[in-house]
């Protein structure tokens, strides 16, 4: 086990680039597991406990989402979590502070996820600097195609952070190559049409799609999809490098509490 406690002294990832970290872990595991939470939902305290449980259960990477009032690419569960967090009074600065304390406390790499208006309003380069200071490894911004992301990409480059690029089943091979030219860390491959939280069918089509992604990029591939059970993980092994679990953690937490999330994750391995 690489991470076995809340406060590890072996902060290997801190000095390691995200891609190298992923490749290092891949030597020990068939596939990494990345999870997701919305900062401030249900509360900062519960988020912290949730991370604790998830890290303890063997999660390798995490996306921390700064809530936004218009989360256009998110499905109903994450959408509502965004709105609840904002109703609780969560601010961008509060989220960055929270990220800092989490990164201090836990020995896995953390990525930021949010919509472009958050960095844009903060001031993109200032925001990226703040991310870097916080110790975040990179960011996923689903509504910012590289065509619109010049300032952001430049700032990320300058600060040495990884802009995670998204491939989708509607992305042409040509465009994958183009997107890959901006990518660092890993490629986030969306498993299917639709917003977060829907069901994905593990199919030949999915295998073909992942093959295309693999051909288009030398970076590790994360597959974002409706991860539900161990069989899903087994199916993915060898085809993708990171399995992403977003909505399901939140659903489990909402229905069964934080502790259940740990069990759920452990059962996936």
């Amino acid at each position: 086990m690489m991470h076995n406690g809340k406060i590890s002294s072996d902060k290997r990832h801190e000095i390691m680039a995200l891609e190298s970290y992923i490749r290092a872990v891949l030597k020990e595991k068939d596939i990494l597991l990345m999870t997701h939470l919305i900062i401030g939902y249900p509360s900062f305290e519960e988020c912290f406990r949730l991370i604790d449980v998830m890290v303890g259960a063997g999660v390798d990477l995490m996306e921390l989402q700064i809530p936004f009032s218009e989360p256009i690419a998110d499905g109903p569960v994450i959408l509502r979590a965004n709105h609840m967090a904002l109703e609780n009074g969560v601010t961008v600065q509060g989220c960055l502070d929270f990220a800092r304390s989490v990164i201090r406390a836990f020995d896995i790499p953390f990525l930021l996820m949010t919509y472009y208006n958050i960095p844009f309003t903060y001031n993109t380069s200032a925001f990226v600097s703040a991310m870097a200071k916080t110790g975040l490894k990179g960011a996923i911004i689903p509504d910012l195609p590289p065509e619109e992301g010049h300032d952001y990409l430049e700032a990320m480059q300058k600060e040495g952070l990884d802009p995670i690029v998204i491939f989708s089943p509607t992305t042409s091979y040509e465009r994958m190559k183009y997107l890959d030219s901006f990518a660092r860390g890993f490629i986030y491959c969306v498993a299917r049409r639709g917003v977060t939280g829907g069901d994905t069918i593990l199919s030949e089509k999915l295998i073909f799609y992942l093959g295309l992604c693999r051909k288009a990029s030398n970076l590790p591939l994360a597959l974002g999809f409706g991860l539900k059970e161990k069989a899903d993980m087994v199916f993915l092994k060898g085809k993708a490098d990171i399995a992403v679990m977003g909505t399901q953690t939140i659903r489990t937490m909402e229905k069964e509490g934080i502790a259940a999330v740990g069990e759920f994750i452990r059962r996936l391995r």
Binding site: F68, S69, E70, P71, I72, A73, G75, P76, L79, R80, H83, L86, T91, V92, Y115, Y116, N117, I118, F120, T121, Y122, P142, D143, L144, P145, E147, E148, I166, F167, S168, P169, T170, T171, S172, R175, L179, V190, R193, G194, V195, G198
Partner: protein, 408 residues
């Protein structure tokens, strides 16, 4: 895809990767259609045989003499089929959908006018149709919901966020992201990612083109000022586009709601409450807090109750080409009543914003001046809102009686 659709610093296409190819297809088809003279002909044919284009230009003789200033003309988009300028846009997009071979359309709606227009277009073209509408808007525009359903559309109440127009837009995008293979999203205003601002303005430009010709035919000269209300900005751009290269003041009127200093309004460019941001796929001025979270907006007119504004208008405003003003709900109701009583015209509450601002300015102009007001829609749909605003006792009795008839 290149970075396109910018107007000054505003616009763009901030969309999830999954939609990129859909937008490429749309941009492509739109470019081809624009280049094809037969397309515009087809568009004109449908607008003149299914709706009633050209819509008339009405001289408001009584208002003119009441205010004793400029001569007031009114462009009558309320006479379009379905009762608003929204018809211009949906029929145009409908023709594009046919070209693309898609079979289903979705749309957001605030006032319900765009929803009714889209449902109508879908019925006419034989498309399946789903309309997203905020719960708050459903409550204040129930008659429109009723008609959308009768027209065969499915109306889905949006219960997230502020439960108004912007949330309906988000929800429509969520549907599109899932169903873009057979579905086109008929955005209702000159907002959203490229090519929507350009495309919607293109179809709406028929308003200004006609109006310019009509006023010159009638008066032999250009108007001094043109007034239009601004929700997303489509009717304003539609009428303004006819006068952009002319020495004509263009006045855009936003929803001042309860007053600019109350926070309960939807004034983006005419208040100090908005700032540049990126949301719903495009960059413009938004009513947002310092973190970039969208604020609640308010207007008596559901169709103006929106956080953003067309990037094309934001740019024209920044250049100083379009002046932005706002009027309060109470002024709107006064202008509405006055227009009914003096001219027998029933503007939509949205449109009544343009009237209210024009009424403020008309007396200060001379009788050599002409002003043109765009009546973007008719007010029938606003019956519940207006009845409530006037506390109409007979109406309330009628509703109570109906409720009793329906039983508990």
């Amino acid at each position: 895809m290149n970075s396109r659709g910018y107007y000054g610093e505003f616009g763009g296409a901030f969309i999830p990767e999954i939609l990129i190819s859909t937008f490429e297809e749309l941009v492509d088809e739109f470019e081809k259609a624009k280049a094809d003279p037969a397309f515009w002909q087809k568009y004109m044919h449908i607008m003149s045989t299914y709706s009633c284009r050209p819509t008339p230009l009405t001289f408001a003789e009584n208002l003119t003499s009441l205010f004793g200033g400029a001569r007031i003309y009114i462009k009558r988009e309320d006479l379009n089929h379905t009762g608003a300028h929204k018809a211009n846009n949906v029929m145009g997009q409908g023709l594009l959908v046919k070209r693309m071979g898609k079979t289903r359309v979705i749309a957001e709606t605030g006032a319900g006018q765009h929803g009714v227009a889209t449902a109508t277009m879908a019925a006419r073209f034989g498309f399946r149709c789903t309309i997203y509408m905020g719960e708050v808007d459903i409550e204040r525009q129930r008659p429109n919901v009723f008609w959308m359903e009768r027209l065969g559309a499915q109306v889905i109440p949006v219960r997230d966020g502020t439960r108004t127009l912007k949330d309906a837009i988000n929800e429509a995008f969520r549907d599109w992201v899932t169903n873009m293979h057979d579905t086109h999203y008929v955005l209702g205003t000159a907002c959203g990612p490229h090519p929507f601002p350009e495309m919607v303005s293109y179809f709406q430009s028929i308003i200004g083109e006609e109006a310019r010709g009509q006023i010159i035919e009638r008066e032999g000269k250009l108007p001094s000022r043109v007034y239009a209300c601004v929700g997303g900005g489509s009717n304003a751009l539609g009428v303004f586009s006819g006068f952009l290269d002319d020495p004509v003041q263009l006045v855009a009127v936003e929803a001042g709601g309860k007053g600019l200093n109350t926070g309960r309004h939807a004034a983006r460019l005419s208040s100090k409450d908005a700032s540049v941001g990126v949301a719903q796929g495009y960059k413009t001025y938004f009513l947002q807090d310092s973190d970039g979270q969208m604020k609640k907006t308010h207007s008596v007119a559901a169709g103006l109750d929106y956080v953003g504004v067309s990037p094309i208008l934001a740019s024209l405003w920044q250049e100083g080409r379009v002046r932005f003003e706002s009027v309060m709900d109470s002024e709107v109701l006064d202008a509405f009543s006055l227009t009914l009583k003096k001219e027998g015209l029933v503007p939509a509450l949205e449109s009544a914003h343009a009237f209210a601002q024009a009424f403020k300015e008309a007396p200060h102009l001379s009788s050599d001046d002409i002003i043109l007001i765009n009546q973007s829609g008719r007010g029938d749909k606003d019956i519940f809102t207006v009845a409530d605003a006037y506390n109409d006792a007979q109406w309330q009795d009628f509703i109570r009686q109906k409720a009793r008839d329906y039983g508990p």
